[in-house]
C-alpha cells in the first residue's frame, strides 16, 4: 500500500545501532519485558483479529456448507455439503446475473475513473496559483460520494424529469429515465463512481511529483514533443502508481454497495439491472435469510477477489516499471 510514500530508510528497531550494544547487554531482562510489552500493546488488535475477523471467517466457511438462517439455533443447523455451491454455480440464474452486472460495472467504470483521474492530475501538476484549492475541490466528491445523500441526488438528477434530461433538452435531445431504465441504471451508477475520481487523482499527483524533472529536460534537448514525453517518461515512471490505483479501485469497484442499494431501493432493480454482487449477497442473507447460501457467496467472492489480485499482480510484471534502488529525492 505504501507505493506512494517516499521510501525512507527504515529506522525500525531491527537495524543494529552503533553504541547501543554495550548498553543493550546490560538490559537483557528488558528484552523479554519489551517482548511482553509488544503483545500487551497489540492485545486489542489481537482480540479483534480473533473475535471480529478470524473466528467469523471460519464460521462463515462452516456456515457455507449448511442451510443456516438466523432463526435456527446451533443444534438445528443442518449440514448440506456442497449444495449451496452447487446451487450457486448450477441453478441460480440471479447469481450469474449479479456476477455479470458486477464485472460489467468494474470493467467499464474502473478504467474510465482512472483515466479521468490521470487526465486531471496531469492538468493540475504544475505550479499555478490556486492549484492547492483546485486539487481539494476535485477531491471533494470522493469524500461525499459513498453516502446515501449523494445517491438521492443521482436518483433525482438522472430521472425522466431530472436536471440531466433538462440539459439534454437544450440540444433537442429527449433523454431516458436513466436511473429507472433497466438499460441505463447501471450506467447511472458508473457515472456516480467515475464522478469520485478525486482519490486516485490525488495519488497520481503525488506520483507525478516524484518523476525527476531532469528526464523531461533531457528529452526536450533530444527534441521530444509533449506526447512523446508522456508516453516515454510519464507513463513508465508512473506505472507503479497506476498499478496501485488499479488494484485498489478494482477491489473497491467489485464491492460497491450503498449507491446500488439506494438507487434501486434495496432491490437491485429495475429488473435486476443494478444487482451488484454485494447487494445480491445482502438480499440473500438479510432479506431472504438464506445465510448459509449467502456465506457461500461471500467465500466465492473472497476467492474471486484474491484471484483478481493475483492476476493483476502477475500482469503487472510486464508493464510496471520500478526504477532501481531507492530514489530518496
Amino acid at each position: 500500500m505504501a507505493s506512494t510514500t517516499t521510501t525512507r530508510p527504515r529506522p525500525g528497531p531491527d537495524r543494529p545501532k552503533a553504541g547501543v550494544s554495550a548498553h543493550r547487554r546490560g538490559l537483557r531482562p528488558d528484552r523479554t519485558r519489551e517482548g511482553l510489552a509488544g503483545y500487551i500493546f497489540l492485545s486489542p488488535w489481537l482480540l479483534g483479529l480473533m473475535g471480529i475477523t478470524a473466528i467469523p471467517m471460519l464460521m462463515s466457511l462452516y456456515l457455507s456448507f449448511t442451510d443456516y438462517d438466523i432463526l435456527s439455533t446451533w443444534s438445528e443447523i443442518e449440514w448440506v455439503g456442497l449444495a449451496n455451491y452447487r446451487r450457486m454455480f448450477g441453478d441460480d440464474p440471479s447469481y450469474w446475473h449479479a456476477v455479470q452486472v458486477t464485472a460489467t460495472f468494474a470493467l467499464i467504470a474502473v478504467p474510465l475513473k482512472l483515466a479521468a483521474a490521470l487526465g486531471v492530475a496531469l492538468l493540475l501538476n504544475r505550479e499555478r496559483r490556486g492549484v492547492g484549492l483546485f486539487r481539494g475541490l476535485f477531491y471533494l466528491p470522493s469524500l461525499l460520494g459513498g453516502s446515501v445523500a449523494l445517491a438521492i441526488v443521482w436518483l433525482n438528477i438522472f430521472n425522466r424529469d431530472g436536471a440531466f434530461n433538462g440539459f439534454l433538452g437544450l440540444f433537442g435531445i429527449e433523454g431516458e429515465p436513466w436511473a429507472n431504465d433497466p438499460d441505463w441504471a447501471l450506467e447511472t451508477l458508473m457515472v456516480l463512481a467515475i464522478w469520485q475520481f478525486g482519490a486516485p487523482m490525488v495519488i497520481f499527483l503525488a506520483g507525478l511529483k516524484q518523476v525527476p524533472t531532469e528526464l523531461y529536460e533531457a528529452a526536450s534537448v533530444d527534441g521530444a514533443g509533449p506526447v512523446r514525453k508522456f508516453l516515454s517518461i510519464t507513463l513508465p515512471m508512473l506505472s507503479p502508481v497506476i498499478f496501485f490505483n488499479l488494484v485498489l479501485e478494482t477491489i473497491n469497484g467489485f464491492q460497491g454497495f450503498t449507491s446500488a442499494f439506494v438507487l434501486s431501493g434495496g432491490t437491485g432493480g429495475p429488473v435486476d439491472s443494478t444487482l451488484m454482487y454485494t447487494l445480491n449477497l445482502y438480499i440473500k442473507g438479510f432479506t431472504d435469510y438464506e445465510m448459509g447460501y449467502a456465506s457461500a457467496m461471500a467465500w466465492v467472492f473472497l476467492v474471486f477477489i484474491g484471484v483478481i489480485t493475483v492476476v493483476l499482480f502477475s500482469t503487472g510484471r510486464f508493464w510496471v516499471h520500478y526504477s532501481d534502488g531507492d530514489d530518496n529525492s
Binding site: M1, E34, A37, L42, Y139, G146, W195, A298
Partner: protein, 275 residues
Amino acid sequence: MRRFVWHAVIVGLLLVLLYPLVWLVAMSFKPAEEIVSSLSLLPKKVVLGNYAEVFEGTGGIPVWRFFGNSLIVAVLSVIGNVISCTLAAYAFARLRFRLRGPLFALMLATIMLPAHVVLIPQYTIFNNLELIDTFVPLALPKFLATDAFFIFLIVQFMRGLPDELADAARIDGCGAVRSFTHVVLPLSRPALVTTAIFTFIWTWNDFLSQLIYLNTPEKYTLPLALRLFIDQTSESSYGPMFAMSVLTLLPIGLFFLAFQRLIVDGVSTTGMGGT
C-alpha cells in the same frame, strides 16, 4: 494567455463536477411545486420551509435524534480507532518481539479483506450476544483495531520519527510504556489527527453496517433516516428530503473546509482511497 486557458479549463471542469452538489443545495431552498415544475437551478423564491419540515421530524422522531445517533457512532469510532490503532502501531513500529514479522504481514492482509466475508457470522455473534439494535456492533470493532488500514498509516508515520529521541528516552531508563506516552505519542499527532478525520467521515457516510445492525427508528442514524425518506416520498416531500440530504453532508463539508489540506495530503502520502 496559456494560464488563462488553463484556468478556464479547470474552472469549467469543476463547474460540471460540482454541479450535483450545487443543485442539491439549490433544490433544498425551493418550494415543493417549483422543484417539480421548474428545471432552473436558482429558486425563484428562497424558502426555508423544507428545513423547517425536516426539523419537525420523521414519523414522530425529531431529526436531532438521528443526528445524535450518527454523532455517537462516529465519535465512539474515532475514539476507538485512535486508541487501538495507535497502540498496535506502536508495537509494530517500535517494539521487538518474536512474532512481529508474521503478525505484521497478517495485519496487512486484513486490510484487503472484503467486509462482506465476515458480515453474516459477525451478525450471528452479535445476535447471540443480544447486541443487535445497539451501537455496540458498530463501535466495538473500532476499539479492537479492525480498521487495520489506520494501523498501517500510523506505523508508517512512527517509523519516520527520528530514532534519537526514543533512544535517549531508553537510555534515561524509560520503558516501552513511558517511551510511548512521552516520546512517540506526542510526536505522532499528525497521523492521529488524520486517522480521526477519516474515521469520522467514513463512519458518518457508512451505510451497510448501520443498515444491518440498527432496526428501530429511534436508533436510526442519518443515512438510515434518509433512506426512510426515499421510501415514503411522494412528490410533495422532495424538498425536505433534499434539505435533510444537505444537513447530512454539511458536517463533512465543514470538515473539508477546516482540514482540506490535511485531508488531501493524507490521501497522497498514504495512498488511501476515498470510498
